[in-house]
Symmetry: C2
Subunit: 225 residues, 2 copies
């Protein structure tokens, strides 16, 4: 039974890595479509969403069956419950990427702003790296890497605040930019949310490994969506 | 053991109802502060957040211990896993209420818009009712009530789109309104997210009762955050 449980846990990890890879690809494609003003990458985002949603249901089902079948305790139980939470966060990251693609599709119908995308591609890169590292931390049970993900969330928040501030100034100096600037503000918010979800994953990893809840404490500031 | 498990499940439900009541109160106070231009209700929001965060950790801990101790299967296991997910959604609803209070605090420093709050108080009422009913559906295992919560999410989305549209027109006709209108757009988005979380809760209730996943299907359209 022990060996069977370990195999099942490995399969669970592998599924979450696949979902994470798809979610990362969705973020990349959404921002590529926005930056290069192309519709094809935006369509990819919607195609990947279907797969992520299918995996989301499959992973939840696996977690339920694993607990019912193996009645795990301690570290095994914490791993499965962490996987179940990470599963939700990955699905929600996919939703955020879809929101970005939808906002990008509207922006493609209009001329680009003079300041173009400001720091949004940088925000996307940061969020993708946080997502990737949070999943590596999960698979390797790497608390230090998880902590570094949580630490990076402040930089993402700062970039979002700067983007908000600049975009508001652009709107105020030229009313014809309002709709487009608002589109970019919403995308900046989506990217910030993705980083928040990666932070949630990192917090779940720390709880899984240490058995200690660091949420709502100074170490990992509370993140929500 | 069976009786002990049932008592523990009742305590779990009761904790989630307390959290839900606090989250509802946070939404109410945040919108009251915004509407009546008063700071006291906004402070209440932050005070309640601490309690919600404490309960969030406590409920997660209870779920983990319940599974480890009782090794529940089938309906009991589904109930505990649903409680764990609902717990996350309630904590995130609290975060959204805090975001509303933060945006409201900024708006209090500026004169109100002529159109004031548009349909935002109505959006808040709808979201609060969805939240309340989703938890009643959880405690009573009431699939019909859960379905009615899911059905109401479209109305909330429609109200949000209308508010976005009107606020963008207000910005375009008078640049001095931009910052304030943007504040209201972000609050409309927070309220929409709260309704999304209530929808997630309702979907979890249906899964818990029927053992069938309706997410990502026509019945309950996918909701994320």
């Amino acid at each position: 039974m022990r060996r069977h449980l370990e195999t099942a846990e490995d399969e669970l990890k592998e599924r979450l890595l696949v979902m994470g890879g798809l979610a990362e690809e969705m973020i990349r494609a959404a921002v590529e479509g926005l930056r290069d003003r192309k519709e094809a990458p935006l369509r990819t985002v919607h195609e990947n969403e279907e797969t992520v949603n299918r995996l989301h249901i499959e992973v939840d089902d696996r977690c339920l069956k694993l607990i019912a079948l193996h009645q795990p305790t301690a570290a095994d139980l914490r791993l499965i419950l962490a996987a179940s939470k990470i599963n939700s966060d990955l699905e929600r990251i996919g939703d955020q990427a879809v929101n970005i693609a939808e906002n990008a599709a509207v922006l493609l119908g209009q001329p680009p702003l003079e300041r173009k995308l400001l720091d949004l591609p940088r925000m996307a890169d940061l969020a993708k790296a946080m997502l990737k590292d949070s999943l590596v931390a999960f698979v390797r049970k790497d608390v230090e890497l998880a902590r570094s993900v949580i630490a990076r969330d402040d930089a993402e928040d700062r970039l979002k605040s700067e983007a908000f501030h600049e975009l508001m100034q652009i709107m105020q100096s030229d009313a014809s930019t309002i709709q487009r600037a608002l589109g970019l503000i919403l995308i900046a918010r989506n990217l910030e949310r993705i980083a928040d979800h990666a932070t949630n994953v990192a917090e779940d990893v720390i709880f899984m490994v240490l058995g200690r809840d660091i949420r709502h404490r100074a170490e990992g500031s509370p993140q929500g969506s």
